[in-house]
């Protein structure tokens, strides 16, 4: 299936810049928490339902059951979506205090609105924003950062789809807000141990910017107190 993109090859992005962010919280009326997150042209919408009643077959006696659903834009969910779901679920499970809601279900639905590179990172950021909006207790926040390593070893932060395609390896990390440690990593392609360390260090640096953005967003949101 082909989707013709109206966005032509954008002006060359500098390697060290993160594209502009944008987020909107509680934009949907039905879910308990919702957010949309935009990184450059990549855009994702997230919705959270829960804690709510859980199916008996999925019930866990001492904690909540988290279900993550990723909806592709075109066609049925494929293996790629399933693996991304797993990455997001494991990150959320690590940060959510699931023991506080035993025998209940949490559902996180992520809808791709536009994919223009660094999609998994955008999923993670949207998920964190939606979980915050739903007011679920978390031990820490998390953010997603994607790095691409070009064939000459040059590392690009927050690559666009074109840069991802041209690169030798693409690495996505979930970084936590308290100690800036890696919560999840998803890699594609080949790279050396040194490069991995460099990417992690850069992602940790980049995460500071993202957490700053989170903070400003939340501050802005609660700026009008009753």
């Amino acid at each position: 299936m082909e989707v013709c993109s109206a966005v032509d090859v954008k002006c060359i992005k500098s390697n060290s810049t993160l594209r502009e962010f944008g987020c909107e919280q509680s934009l949907l009326s039905r879910p308990d928490g919702s957010a949309s997150f935009i990184q450059g042209d990549t855009s994702v919408m997230a919705a959270v339902y829960g804690p709510a009643e859980v199916k008996v077959s999925k019930e866990i006696y001492d904690r909540a059951t988290l279900e993550v659903v990723i909806q592709a834009k075109v066609g049925l969910p494929s293996v790629k979506e399933r693996s991304q779901e797993q990455c997001v679920r494991e990150t959320c499970e690590a940060s959510l205090l699931m023991l506080l809601h035993p025998r209940s279900s949490l559902t996180l639905i992520l809808q791709v609105l536009h994919d223009h590179g660094s999609l998994l990172a955008c999923f993670l950021n949207a998920a964190c924003m939606a979980l915050m909006d739903a007011g679920l207790p978390m031990s820490c926040l998390f953010c997603g950062v994607t790095c691409a390593i070009a064939s000459d070893g040059q590392i690009t932060m927050d690559p666009t789809a074109v840069q991802e395609k041209e690169s030798r390896a693409v690495l996505t990390f979930a970084i936590d807000s308290t100690e800036q440690k890696v919560m999840m990593s998803s890699t594609k392609g080949s790279f050396s141990v040194q490069e991995l360390h460099e990417c992690i260090a850069l992602s940790q640096k980049a995460s500071e910017n993202i957490f700053k953005f989170y903070r400003v967003s939340v501050q802005r949101r609660y700026s009008k107190t009753l």
Binding site: A6, G22, E53, K73, E198
Partner: protein, 319 residues
């Protein structure tokens, strides 16, 4: 997850209010909720807000072999998705009655009304035609999904552009958007669906029911028409008997409204903006510009003692 049931008190209250010609959101009987259209960066991507109901449509295309019975006609395919995002009652990958109903109605609305020139989608007769696929995702369910879906689908189809193709002998070349400008679909007219809900065995009638109203209604009448005042399809459900006159007078009344919608759709379509529309004035919204990460400084490679050991172990293996 189950949907929250509607209590008897709420039900009675709603019906009483409708009897008094009042609606929960302060609308009049024939008032539509506000419609907002936004187009995405991709061609053929459209998000429609109908009040709080939100629907996204994405059109895509593919070269396929045509049906044997119609060798020189392109194929239209509709895929509706009741995403659990819209309502907790929607389950993933299960086709419910509602889904079948919506899908069928959308097909009747867009395919059977012949609003799209399918013959222009033919590349090589009997061998290669374009299949146009419309994926509709429900993002938020606050009633009247059908109207929102029909508006989103037709708006997305009008926005969509397919790649240009060249035929030389037996060879079919598909040109990328950089090589040749993509081509828009030829659309004859825009059918738009209008839903009417009936209460108290058809005594009361409301246009564009919201989710609460949908739950207490007795029947639903969906009329699809275009701006030339032609009716493309009528579908009534809920098992109530309609008087002929009642339907006809409502239709004439509604033509104007459907027209208005159509105009609105066209106007928005003409603008063809594709940037992300963020309502910047809201406090729930925040944006930043590009931020740069300092890469020049000495990159601190976090290496614990364990890592060092790992490296040492790695070496003999590679050797």
């Amino acid at each position: 997850m189950k949907d929250t049931p509607l209590s008897n008190c709420e039900r009675d209250f709603l019906l009483k209010a409708i009897e008094e010609k009042k609606r929960l959101d302060g609308r009049q009987t024939y008032d539509y909720r506000n419609i907002k259209l936004r187009f995405g960066a991709d061609y053929g991507c459209c998000i429609v807000d109908l009040g709080k109901t939100r629907v996204m449509a994405q059109v895509s295309c593919e070269l396929v072999t045509p049906k044997e019975s119609r060798p020189n006609e392109g194929i239209l395919f509709f895929n509706l998705e009741l995403s659990p995002m819209a309502s907790p009652a929607f389950e993933l990958g299960r086709s419910s009655e509602l889904l079948v109903k919506l899908n069928r109605q959308l097909e009747r609305c867009l395919r059977n009304s012949h609003c799209i020139d399918t013959e222009s989608l033919c590349v090589v007769s009997g061998e290669k035609v374009w299949q146009i696929r419309v994926d509709v995702h429900m993002l938020n369910h606050d009633g009247n999904l059908m109207d929102a879906t029909s508006i989103a689908a037709i708006a997305a189809l009008s926005h969509f552009k397919r790649p240009d193709v060249g035929v030389q002998g037996d060879q079919v070349t598909v040109y990328s958007p950089e090589e040749r400008n993509p081509i828009a679909l030829s659309i004859y007219h825009m059918p738009i669906c209008v839903s009417l809900s009936f209460f108290q065995q058809g005594t009361y009638l409301l246009v564009d029911p919201c989710e609460r109203e949908e739950r207490v209604m007795d029947g639903l009448l969906m009329i699809t028409m275009n701006k030339h005042r032609e009716i493309c399809s009528i579908q009534s459900s809920g098992g109530i008997m309609l008087l002929k006159e009642q339907a006809m007078t409502e239709i004439t009344d509604l033509i104007m409204r459907a027209l208005e919608n159509d105009k609105k759709t066209r106007k928005e379509g003409g603008k063809c903006g594709f940037a992300e529309y963020m309502p910047l004035a809201r406090i729930t919204v925040n944006t930043t510009d590009d931020t740069s990460v300092d890469m020049t400084g000495p990159v601190v490679v976090i290496s614990d003692s364990e890592d060092e050991e790992d490296v040492v172990i790695l070496h003999p293996e590679t050797l």
